[in-house]
Symmetry: C2
Subunit: 260 residues, 2 copies
């Protein structure tokens, strides 16, 4: 279990906490005994699986709304419909729970980009990528917010993820962009800045949703609103990359598991 007895370690306040491993770790259900048969059990035990799921869902919501420090175990417990002591039973500490929520999100984070293939048509591939990201912003805004919050406050929990997994993936995909450029199929751009552009623009619609909504004078953003945003983002990004819009064989919108 993580340090918590002797060193309170100030859960989320200053975040000098230990940085977790990059990916393969499964950090949520540890109290079974000490993490040992957590793997086998995580699949088997029905009750455990259901409760873990419920807690993670509630936690993502609360962490998104209040940040790591602002979230309270009591609030999460309420939203999950379980007594507070139960959260500590499944997840040792608040920080452990926070990390578990982050873990889920990280997994989700790399997927869309991983699909970018050099052999595809640039405009088509990028359009699909942007759509996937916009879908994620629409369907999993809380995941995006938790991630944004973590980065915003120093990424002390996911430093290794950024430096290892994400960095590697970006290196690989930057090569794809560079290849397209060298083949004359795209305007010359710094591939990494190009990715930053796509990330910031698409995530903006989740992280800054309140601002978007308010400036637009909307009460609530609808599916149609998002369709418009998506089309507009695609247009602008493609032009930024010196690309004509793809033939658009069919306006498939991809899709992400989703929560709301």
């Amino acid at each position: 279990m993580a340090g918590s007895r002797l060193t309170p370690s100030r859960p989320c306040r200053k975040m000098v906490a230990p940085i977790p491993s990059p990916f393969p770790s499964r950090s949520d259900p540890l109290p079974m005994d000490v993490t040992e048969k957590a793997q086998t059990a995580a699949r088997g035990r029905r009750i455990r699986r259901e409760n873990v799921e419920r807690i993670l869902k509630a936690a993502e919501l609360v962490f998104a709304e209040a940040g790591c420090a602002g979230a309270t175990m009591a609030d999460i417990a309420d939203k999950a419909g379980l007594p507070k002591a139960n959260l500590h039973y499944y997840f040792g500490t608040k920080e452990d729970l926070y990390r578990a929520v982050l873990d889920n999100i990280l997994r989700l984070w790399l997927d869309p980009l991983a699909g970018l293939d050099a052999s595809a048509d640039p405009a088509t591939a990028l359009t699909a990528y942007i759509r996937a990201k916009m879908d994620a912003s629409r369907l999993r805004p809380n995941a995006s917010k938790v991630f944004a919050n973590e980065i915003l406050h120093g990424a002390s929990q996911i430093g290794e993820f950024l430096a290892e997994d994400l960095r590697r993936l970006v290196d690989r995909k930057a090569a794809v962009i560079e290849q397209w450029i060298s083949e004359g199929r795209m305007a010359p751009v710094d591939p990494r800045q190009f990715f930053f552009m796509i990330w910031s623009m698409t995530q903006h619609y989740a992280d800054f949703e309140v601002q978007v909504r308010t400036v637009l004078g909307r009460k609530k953003l609808t599916r149609d609103d998002f369709a418009h945003f998506t089309a507009e983002v695609v247009r602008m990004v493609l032009r930024a990359g010196g690309l004509a819009p793809p033939d658009d064989p069919v306006s498939c919108t991809g899709g992400v598991p989703g929560e709301s």
Copy 2:
């Protein structure tokens, strides 16, 4: 003074707190007596002015690093080099201090966009705007982070600012873009989405600095790094708006007061 005796009001946790007025309010130094001669005094009293400045600076840093809920008065006091009780003397509550920090930032927020003039050359005007925003991200990253954090968690403190001041300004400047479009000087884009693009891209370099730095493998982002980012952002945004790069009479970088 704000409610704190009977209704703890949970400062930053859930943010159901009262929304401040849009702009003309000066919410920082109220303990003098009850805000009355705050205005005249704020200018006069030397000690007060210096301490208020010191506290605000430290507060912006801590709020940026830890968020509103994660920040502690003790930490801010340390960074400001003053005893904690002193903060409560100048600013009533933590929430008041947070609002004062936000107030400063909001003022800073509208300025660059306000300069966008319809009579100017689109490419030149937008380039200047983007540079101003990138300078702000480089020189006042903490301001950007505090703002981002506030939006991310529901903007309960600046709802009125968004709905009134910012909305109005955006409406006015969207008209400028639309005019340029109708004059055939820009590609047709949704002006508001275009602004979102500029905001998200430029603020990304402050709010997500850790990610940018880590993915790029840098230890620290230099002035040159930012110059490169800026050039790249300008290029991409202009292309997105169907604009050729401006003649660039002189590569003036504008400038923002700055803190670091």
